[in-house]
């Protein structure tokens, strides 16, 4: 039942917000529609895009933020305030399309209030038709892959985590926490699975010289 409610709420949020008749919300005041298709997306560019969301707050079913390094609606949960929720942040960062199962890439202005149709449940459970897939092992995760459980999802910020085995996770974490990079233990937590967007463009494009993933420089 909870899963159904989440899906219903997120489906509604996937529609661009329409100004209401009551007091204007932060989203009403700040956000607008601005999106277009793009041909490709590198992990490095996805991470660069997501940087704009850091320190910008959290909003359940949200997906609109400015870039002033502060949460403009702190302590105002479910108010059409600033910030994405966890799955909406992944949706925009991964440049996913707004219709379930559609391939390709779509860029959204950070100030477009769009969440997308995917919840943490769909990211976790996966489906062959989705534009992302579950990793066989979390140890294979590369940066900008995600770790998802029922209820939350965050992205691996870098492959070089701290020496204690934890990871730097880029995530819309919680109402009181906002959005940012946190040290987390999702890799070792059995509730989480690894999730990879399909069709990443290699970071080396268009100068890739082979399948080698490692560049070793000796001193």
């Amino acid at each position: 039942m909870k899963r159904l409610l989440v899906a219903m709420a997120l489906s509604a949020a996937a529609v661009v917000a329409v100004p209401g008749t009551a007091l204007a919300s932060w989203v009403d005041d700040k956000c607008f529609v601005d999106a277009h298709s793009v041909d490709m997306l590198e992990r490095s560019q996805a991470r660069a895009y997501a940087e704009s969301g850091i320190d910008e707050g959290y909003e359940y079913a949200g997906g609109c933020w400015d870039n002033d390094d502060r949460d403009d609606t702190p302590g105002q949960p479910d108010s059409e305030g600033e910030g994405p929720d966890c799955s909406g942040f992944v949706f925009k960062t991964w440049h996913l399309r707004g219709i379930i199962g559609n391939d390709g890439f779509r860029w959204y202005n950070r100030l477009q209030d769009v969440h997308g149709p995917y919840s943490s449940y769909t990211f976790h459970d996966g489906d062959p038709d989705y534009p992302f897939r579950t990793l066989a092992s979390k140890s294979n995760a590369l940066y900008m892959d995600a770790f998802a459980k029922h209820g939350h999802i965050g992205m691996l910020y870098t492959g070089n985590g701290p020496s204690d085995g934890t990871d730097y996770i880029l995530e819309a974490w919680c109402d009181a926490c906002g959005t940012g990079v946190n040290v987390q233990t999702y890799r070792g937590n059995a509730d989480y699975v690894g999730v990879r967007r399909r069709d990443w463009t290699p970071d080396c494009y268009p100068q890739c010289q082979g399948p080698a993933e490692v560049t070793l420089i000796r001193l």
């Binding site: 989440v6 660069a48 390094d69 070089n160 070793l216 000796r218």
Partner: protein
């Protein structure tokens, strides 16, 4: 990360200096450049980075004869939200005299194996010429296309230790689900008020409660109740006192033997990490800034605190009387001039004691399952260690648990497992503490509330 105006952040407690340097050259010491720094430095050009941050993956402790490989990643982002092509250089070896450079790319690694300097050892993997042991200092710099440079660390060097000898110890597997319960010493329901613990939960977000706790010599529990803005002290399950503190949901806590509490947290307004001291009477005192990276750890040792700063992944001293620009230590200082080294591998945990440039009591614990994190590691004072690692299993029967390991100087192992279930996720560094009484304390939670559980380890500390 658009408009923060921050050019130079100096820290009174000598934790870290963040600065920016325009133009080419070695650059000023810096861990990160963000948008405000760009404006203040007057850098122009579309490719000037507004975020320039180095992440490295130090092997930290290697066995003599093994390669010394340091992977490096750089986050380089322009004001328009585009990834920018940074260049990475590393200086390493004696006097940091050797240097290499390359463009940042996925999978970039520097090989420092040829720079190991030290005395011949007798480690596993000795070649015909015999291995050497010691340490390899290194420092990393990243340069954006506009020529601005950041360095890691800001002062001094990081270090990889090479152990002449490292005992390999197989840790017996504990079947998943065979858990030891422990004794509850504090239980609080979720809610508001002195006898409850704050909780933030909702759909499509993490469930977050108290990030950290500690235990003092009298057995009192210090709970960092971030969502109620307080440091609460409980004795015998009852509230003894509380101190109002503006602490972020991700924070860390350590209590010194005299009752002084140190809190590492993030300022809500500025986003900067800061270290707050609360005296034994519960009065909040001075604060020092601690950079703007992800939140790390704090530990009280002797009369001072040491903070593990990220992404430097090294410890620096903080508090009254600490000189500015202190050199970082990749090991956690133990108060006697030595430092604890610990590093997690895919199925291993390595531990050792750094004394100067040498390593003592190095051990490699080998697990049957993948290791997700090292949640606690402490020397036992007799050449052995107490450590807690999360081990996990993937697939249809996915499971995880914390495995407590006591390894003696001779390599004898005792081990048992405790639950990793948590309704509200604490900070990774805030879940376990080794109490002054020698017992292991663990924070756990359920839909009903949070509990602190004591596990007797059968010894004294």
């Amino acid at each position: 990360m658009g408009g923060r105006r921050r050019a130079v952040v100096g820290m009174a407690g000598a934790l870290l200096v963040v600065a920016v340097a325009a133009g080419s050259g070695p650059g000023l010491a810096a861990a990160r450049v963000r948008a405000g720094a760009r404006a203040a430095a007057g850098v122009r050009g579309a490719l000037a980075a507004t975020t320039l941050q180095i992440f490295h993956g130090s092997p930290l402790l290697v066995r003599a004869g093994e390669p010394v490989i340091v992977p490096v990643d750089v986050v380089c982002v322009t004001a328009s939200g585009m990834a920018c092509p940074a260049t990475v250089s590393i200086r390493a070896g004696a006097g940091l005299a050797r240097r290499a450079e390359g463009p940042i790319r996925q999978g970039l690694r520097f090989d420092l194996t040829g720079l190991v300097a030290g005395k011949p050892g007798a480690g596993e993997g000795a070649g015909p010429a015999g291995p050497v042991a010691g340490s390899v200092p290194f420092a990393i710099a990243a340069r954006d296309p506009a020529g601005r440079t950041v360095t890691l660390p800001a002062v001094g060097a990081l270090r990889v230790y090479v152990a002449a000898a490292m005992r390999a110890v197989a840790v017996p597997a504990v079947p998943f689900g065979r858990l030891r319960d422990g004794t509850t010493v504090l239980a609080l329901p979720w809610g508001r008020g002195a006898a409850a613990a704050g909780l933030d939960r909702g759909p499509e977000q993490a469930t977050v409660g108290p990030p950290a706790f500690d235990v003092d010599a009298d057995g009192r529990v210090y709970l960092l109740d971030a969502l109620q803005g307080r440091l609460a002290v409980f004795g015998g399950g009852r509230l003894v006192r509380q101190t109002a503190l503006d602490v972020a949901p991700r924070s860390d806590l350590s209590v010194a033997p005299d009752g002084t509490a140190w809190v590492l947290t993030r300022a809500v307004a500025s986003g900067l990490v800061r270290l707050v001291r609360v005296d034994p009477a519960g009065r909040p005192g001075e604060e020092v800034a601690a950079g703007d990276g992800p939140l790390g750890q704090v530990r009280a040792v002797g009369g001072r605190a040491y903070a593990r700063l990220l992404p430097m992944d090294a410890w620096v001293a903080a508090g009254p009387g600490v000189a500015a620009a202190a050199e970082p230590s990749v090991g956690r200082p133990l108060g006697d001039g030595t430092a604890l080294l610990r590093v997690a591998g895919e199925r291993t945990v390595r531990l050792g004691i750094a004394r100067g440039e040498r390593v003592e009591d190095a051990v490699e614990l080998r697990f049957a399952s993948p290791v997700g994190e090292v949640a606690l590691a402490e020397p036992d004072g007799r050449g052995g260690y107490v450590m807690v690692a999360r081990v996990y299993r993937e697939g249809a029967n996915a499971a995880d648990q914390f495995q407590v390991v006591l390894v003696s100087a001779s390599g004898a192992v005792r081990t048992f497992a405790v639950s990793s279930a948590a309704y509200a996720e604490p900070a990774p560094s805030g879940r376990f503490r080794l109490g002054p009484d020698g017992a292991l304390y663990r924070m756990t939670s359920s839909p009903e509330g949070v509990r602190i559980v004591r596990h007797d380890l059968g010894g004294t500390r």
